[in-house]
Amino acid sequence: MSVDGSLDRLRREGHIVIVGASLAGLRAAETLRDEGFTGALTIVGDEPHEPYDRPPLSKQVLLGRVPADHTTLPRRREVDAQWRLGVAATGLDMAAKRVHLADGAAVEYDRLLITTGVRARPWPHELEADLDGVFVLRTSDDAAGLHHRLSAGPRRVLVIGAGFTGSEIASACRERGLDVTVAERGSAPLVGALGGVVGEVAATLQREAGVDLRCGIMVTGLEGDSAGRLRRAHLSDGSSVEVEVAVVCLGATRNTEWLASSGLGAGPRGIACDAGCRAFDVRGIVTDDVFVAGDVARSPHPLFGYQFLSLEHWGNAVEQAETAAHNMISSSTDRRPHVWTPSFWSAQFGMNIKSVGVPPMADEIIVTQGSLAERRFTAVYGYQGRVIAAVTFDQAKWLEFYQQQIERAAPFPPEFTTVDRRPEGMHPVPAGFPDPSLPSHGPTVTLSGHSPSDRRISFTPLSA
């Protein structure tokens, strides 16, 4: 490419379009400029806001420490882009290299980056979802609305689903002194992401904080009064709870519908791409000019058996965006793979939870430092005799070491002695993940060994 000068031309005066104006979109734009792209840059986003940060929405914002509209992402540098905010992309014509927008306009591109992320999966019964008091939490508008309602002091809040977002919301409610019931289909909170052993610790934390935690239970219906206000929730064990607010935390859906007839390999599980962030088309062939990054992407990871990982992690969005941006304006030999070791954090019930690697891939777990009973520990996850993940509760400073163990495919269980190793942590036990054949809303990581094609993938939506 650079041989005939077209790459130089692209870098100098090409047009790059980014669809999705959030974390991944912004960081990609900054990287493009950092790496010397001087052409035209257009950033399309369907939300009216400037790019903002989502993690505080379920933490500081719900606690009232930061207003919902104050989480704007800091700019690392000037990006000099044309911002088309409040306008959704509605279609992609790959042959004509054109993106269609909701306002009827179209923008042409030399290179396209898709960072449309995910949205909260709504409550599946539409009429019930529309009741006043039923919320999801994905956007800053969601957070503003929920914060407003929590400030009014509802008698009881129901959180449906105890994954990370649900657990953080429950934590914020308790910190505000609100009564809260958490309904979780699995056997414990966080069980899909971290397994049953660690899930039990999370359950204890919730109960000690005064959460009415009900596991192994589904919400079967939401009931409103004559004015359309939420009043009651019905549970699968036949009981019901009186609630004024319900937050639906049943995981996320990828924002890929706008690509339905584009010929891109985009479906409900995201957009598959190669390790260099280039999207696949429906035929399984990699594209040259369409790149993806962030929550919407699924990419193969050499460290984890080349499985396609789709990660809803802040750090992944940043690093994948940087890699995608770099590759978009580099010749093939200068491209880099996105070989980020998955990691994320969560803050709940006064606890700093951190994870590296891919816990749900594990079959066994061992506590190598600290103790589950004290809720301060490092747990290492094993898969077929090697270290595949590690999770810390309030012990984050050791995590880097375990990340290296994962990256070096170190043997599991680890045989060495460490500081703070306790007798009860000496033996590996089953990690306790739910049967993967059962649909679950819990995991933030989904794994699939299959080649992408939206037509062939069957997806079982959650029936509550």
Binding site: G370, R376, K397, W398, E400, F416, T417, T418, V419, D420
Partner: protein, 413 residues
């Protein structure tokens, strides 16, 4: 060159003024040891990894017997428990958390911030004292008294007792020096150290006792009366923790400020930049911690298991010296490492160590150095070094000038 030769050179006073060429030599072999000496680790990433490695212990009771015999006794008081500096988790974590409660976030997030006014006052007062002089010894006239006053106020030590503290701190800091003289010298020195430790402990115990009866807004009172999920420190734990804060919060900052002023006087363009733009103090102090770290090396680590690193296996129970100051100048990690670049980007230095033992007092030390250097360059008119290099202290671990003569033409208000 053998490692023992290197080791001796590190502790050799002749190299105190400029140990950096020696460190460059050391880095050629990232992990090096002689038959019965400690393992020296000198490169950035290896040090970084070992600081985050749970198989590395800070508790010298885990040394194997031969290594333990090589490690000089430091006049520990057998009646006091080890401080969290020399403990591993979970004991380390518990004591550090208990100490953090009255000092920093999440329970006391504003303690350091709220000392700004006081820091400013102490600094101004000390500089006002230069009035009428043309020459000062920065160490005795400024760098020493400043952090002693700060730590005393933080802990809640009456001002009239500050001079006694100064003397105790001096004696105890010298004991961290790994270099030993003759057997008699050693015995005499140990005697002095033990005495200082005992006197300090008795003094602190009395004060803590008093504060538990009538608490005030200071750290000793908070430690004596506070209750949290970890319970409370025992009285002896309070004494040893308070003693640790005094020594560590003092001997290090002295060198940070003195090394800082020395570096600025050697780089007049940077000095002028700081004078024009006081905000430069923030990144400048970070660069200082990289370039001339007050704690040059950590000599008190040991291995709980065999550790493979940089092609060497460090056996279980070995003594480990992590040469932070060398890691800070590792060209594999820092661009142009021997240049002082006050606004250096990506400056993750090892000056405060890293991992669970990273410097407890870092937020305070940063603030003290920022205040001190900004005010010194603002108020001293045309400051100049009297002697370069200045005379250094004997200590190879806590390295810094013993005196720093500075002449100047006058004082700005």
């Amino acid at each position: 060159m053998t490692s023992v030769a290197l080791l001796r050179q590190i502790t050799d006073y002749a190299n105190r003024a400029d140990p950096y060429p020696l460190y460059a030599e050391l880095r050629k072999t990232p992990v090096v040891r002689d038959e019965d000496g400690p393992y020296l680790v000198s490169t950035y990433w290896e040090i970084h990894h070992l600081l985050h490695d749970p198989r590395v212990s800070s508790d010298i009771r885990n040394l194997n017997p031969e290594a333990a015999a090589m490690t000089p006794a430091q006049g520990e008081d057998p009646n006091l428990p080890p401080t969290f500096l020399k403990l591993d988790p979970p004991e380390h974590d518990r004591l550090r958390r208990l100490t953090m409660r009255p000092f920093g976030p999440p329970h006391t997030p504003r303690r350091v911030y709220e000392m700004r006014g006081e820091l400013g006052e102490i600094v101004s007062g000390l500089i006002d004292g230069f009035q009428g002089k043309q020459q000062i010894d920065l160490v005795d006239d400024f760098s020493y008294p400043f952090p002693v006053s700060v730590i005393c106020r933080l802990l809640g030590i009456p001002r009239e007792d500050e001079p006694r503290f100064h003397a105790w701190a001096d004696t105890l800091a010298a004991s961290i020096d790994p270099v030993r003289g003759s057997a008699e010298d050693q015995e005499a020195q140990l005697q002095t150290v033990r005495q200082a430790r005992a006197d300090l402990a008795a003094y602190l115990a009395g004060l803590i006792e008093e504060r538990s009866r009538s608490p005030r807004d200071d750290m000793l009172s908070a430690m004596a009366t506070g209750h949290g999920p970890d319970g409370q420190m025992s009285p002896v734990e309070m004494v040893s923790t308070a003693a640790l804060l005094l020594i560590a919060g003092h001997e290090t900052t002295v060198n940070l400020i003195t090394n800082g002023m020395l570096t600025l006087l050697r780089n007049p363009d940077v000095l002028q930049r700081l004078r024009d733009d006081p905000d430069l103090a923030v990144p400048l102090v970070e660069e200082l911690l990289r370039f001339e770290p007050p704690v040059q090396l950590l000599p008190q680590k040991t291995t709980l298991a065999d550790i493979d690193i940089a092609g060497t296996t460090i056996p279980k129970g070995a003594s480990l010296w992590l040469v932070l100051a060398s890691g800070n100048r590792d060209p594999q990690r820092f661009l142009d490492p021997d240049r002082f670049i006050p606004d250096r980007p990506d400056n993750q230095h090892l000056g405060f160590s890293s991992g669970v033992h990273n410097c407890f007092g870092a937020p305070l030390a940063r603030l003290e150095a920022q205040f001190a250097l900004t005010e010194l360059v603002r108020r001293l008119d045309n400051p100049r070094l009297v002697q370069d290099p200045p005379p250094y202290r004997q200590n190879a671990v806590l390295r810094g000038p013993r005196h720093l003569g500075i002449t100047f033409d006058g004082l700005k208000p």
